[in-house]
Symmetry: C2
Subunit: 105 residues, 2 copies
């Protein structure tokens, strides 16, 4: 009988983070909304993110953000928590994140 296991999260190390995938990840309105919530509220369980998309779409967006190096995720019990890699992003691209988070909406 097949067993289902949660896929392992993969992240780029800080020195592997590249500007183009970061910008691509942040260029989507839903992903930008996720990032704003993580910036405002700190680490957040997937289920508590306030975005109007299906669970599978949310999973896809979170993966895009993780793989670009924008967020980290960790599993605790049945919950998955996400947090913004602010320290890494600010170190690599000073000014970028604040410029985006303070953008007129």
């Amino acid at each position: 009988m097949p067993t289902e296991t949660a896929p392992a999260y993969t992240y780029p190390d800080r020195d592997e983070i590249r500007i183009e995938p970061v910008l691509h990840a942040l260029a989507d309105p839903v992903r930008l909304q996720i990032v704003r919530q993580l910036a405002d509220g700190g680490e957040c369980a997937c289920g508590n993110l306030d975005v109007r998309v299906s669970k599978s779409t949310l999973t896809h967006h979170l993966r895009t953000l993780r793989e670009a190096g924008v967020i980290m995720g960790r599993q605790q019990g049945t919950a998955r928590y996400n947090s913004l890699r602010r320290e890494d992003l600010d170190a690599l691209f000073p000014g970028l994140l604040n410029g985006i988070l303070n953008a007129p909406r």
Copy 2:
């Protein structure tokens, strides 16, 4: 006999520029290369941009940058000149452009 006229350029006004299209425009390596050249060298004729893409691909990239509000273009005789909208971008998204231009390559 059909005559060919250059299409009129359209630009968003400063207050119409939105962060998502700007990030999308900047997320492409070739477009980022164009923006870096305009940032370093000021206004530049299309033909003088150092990018290894076909003329039609370059035209497409320049349109994407123009429509997002990242660059301006002007026609002078047979040449088209492009320039970075640094003042507009810095006013709307302080820190963004420098964060991107100074990114590790």
